[in-house]
Amino acid sequence: MTQRLFAPLTLLLVMIFLIGPFFIIVAASFSAGETLAFPPEGFSLKWISKVFIVESFRQSFAVSMFLAIGGTLSALLLGIPASYAMSRYKLPLSETVRFMVSAPIIVPGIIVGLALLRYFVIPIGLSITLALFVAHTALVLPYAVRVVSASLANLRSDMEEAAVLLGSSRLGAFFRVVLPNIRGGILAAFILGFVTSFNQVPVSLFLSGPGVRTLPIDMLGYMEIVFDPSVAALSSLLAFLSIGIVFAAERFLGFSRYV
């Protein structure tokens, strides 16, 4: 009998621990009070709407969007050909290349950010925006390579050979036959990269300047100074955004197959 209760009880407690805090910030973001509190004092949408009004949030949201979309796209632009070379060609030093493009996953982001600051931004005068862009591209590159490589591994390579025998060039075979069949994997890589980049903090810590900082960094700064529920409201919105994207991805392309 005790055993029968043990499993559901464990699950309940663990789920409360994992997901409960999320519900609390959602509730707190609808508070009518001036400070962060739970249970919320009354009900209002004022903090939710404040999120859209605060100028710095709007700016940093735009920066984060730009980085997440641009960084992921350029990581795919670099990663897809590299994955293709590693999976279909006798590539010299193939293991070294694979190590190089997946190394950013091993190194803590804060170190990448610091290294870029120290050797590119300060001495060369690389703009913060460009440094952020490069850092986020590097950060997403390993995910792009991993997911695209997995898709390619699942795609029989004799399809490309069939295309070549029918008269296509190698490059043509890639665009006509390979690309259409790994679209799902590429989309999955894009979503994974987008979420990773958008939520990433440490890599951007040292890379912020006047008017240029990512949204999570902006939130960190804001919550140190202001103790109102707007960060809770913003957190809830972002969480729903992530969950929505991932749910849609799972629904329409079986996201978890690729990740």
């Binding site: 004799d158 025998l165 029918l166 069949n181």
Partner: protein, 342 residues
């Protein structure tokens, strides 16, 4: 069939890195011929095909097609068709689009394209499936699409890698006649790979038996079936009883030497099909260790001085019970002499 050599492999050697898959292969194929590459798995059949198609570069040797050296011609300019063992259809395209793929690359458009594709689909009996996506088709239908996709290109040589091995028994028979029909109607030079002797014997004009990356024997189905040159070929085409000859006597696997009646031919070995073994009379005795009924015949496994002997007798004759002792004969006249053993 003309006698002029159409496709000529000249001392062709093929390797994967350091592994040599095919060594010094010489082969002449005539225009319009239906040739079978027969051999056990791993003997280099697929590798040879891939080299002919241009999907792999030979480490040495030449490939001559229709008088031109194509050894260095890229695969997409050879116009050689290959139906892959996996079919390699394009899953994102419809049946029609799959078949149209190569024609479009060669600049065909509009009515001409539609006509050629529809003709191709007609030939393989899939006209009604033009708008299906290929993953929805059965294995046999997929193979027909792959065949049509290659055929519409009017390739100089059409090659098929184990075309029947992924099909169930009934479909296999159907596809076999279909392949033969398509080849005879179009007159295309066709090479197909198989590890199944029955298929090769039934279909081919000529059979090339391969072993460990080299040719073991080339011949018509009759030659291969009746006169294997080596113990390897004999084993492969169903001579169940294969023995070496040393010093004019038959030697068994366990090293016993046995004299046979009459003079042995000048050969390294002798091979008997099961039905060449005479049961009921003869100088040897064996014990029946297995009997199985195979419709028209009964198959026996005898334990004897030769080791295990496979024999066959008409099922209408009374059978020999299990564990009974039995006289039998292995007439030299009924054996195929082997020029190579081992």
């Amino acid at each position: 069939m003309s006698d002029a050599s159409y496709l000529f492999l000249d001392k062709l050697s093929l390797a994967y890195g350091k592994t040599i898959a095919v060594k010094d292969l010489d082969l002449n194929i005539c225009k319009g011929e239906l040739l079978a590459l027969l051999g056990p798995s791993g003997c280099g059949k697929t590798t040879t095909m891939r080299a002919i198609a241009g999907l792999m570069t030979p480490s040495s040797g030449r490939i001559i097609l229709d008088g031109a050296d194509i050894t260095r011609v890229p695969a997409n300019r050879r116009n050689i068709g290959l139906v892959f063992q996996s079919y390699a259809l394009f899953p994102h395209l419809t049946v029609f689009e799959n078949v149209a793929f190569g024609l479009k690359l060669h600049g065909l458009r509009g009515e001409e394209l539609t006509r050629r594709v529809e003709d191709g689909l007609e030939t393989v009996g899939l006209a009604a499936f033009a708008n299906r996506k290929t993953p929805e088709l059965s294995g046999g239908q997929q193979q027909r699409v792959a065949l049509a996709r290659s055929m519409v290109m009017q390739p100089k040589v059409l090659m098929l890698d184990e075309p029947l091995s992924n099909l169930d028994a009934r479909l296999r028979l159907e596809m076999r006649t279909e392949l033969q029909r398509v080849q005879k109607e179009s007159g295309v030079t066709m090479i197909f790979v198989t590890h199944d002797q029955v298929e090769a014997l039934a279909l081919a004009d000529r059979i090339v038996v391969m072993r460990d990356g080299a040719i073991e024997q080339i011949g018509t189905p009759e030659e291969i079936y009746n006169s294997p040159v080596s113990s390897f070929v004999a084993d492969f085409v169903g001579f169940e009883n294969v023995f070496a000859i040393s010093d004019g006597r038959l030697s068994t696997k366990d090293g016993a030497d046995i004299a046979l009646a009459g003079t042995l031919p000048k050969a390294k070995g002798l091979a008997w099909r099961p039905r060449a073994i005479e049961l009921g009379t003869g100088p040897f005795t064996g014990v029946v260790r297995g009997v199985s009924f195979a419709g028209g015949t009964r198959e026996y496994v005898l334990e004897s001085r030769f080791g295990s002997i496979k024999a066959e007798a008409d099922a209408k004759l009374p059978g020999y019970p299990l564990n009974s002792e039995l006289a039998f004969d292995m007439p030299v006249a009924a054996a195929a002499p082997l020029q190579r053993f081992g």
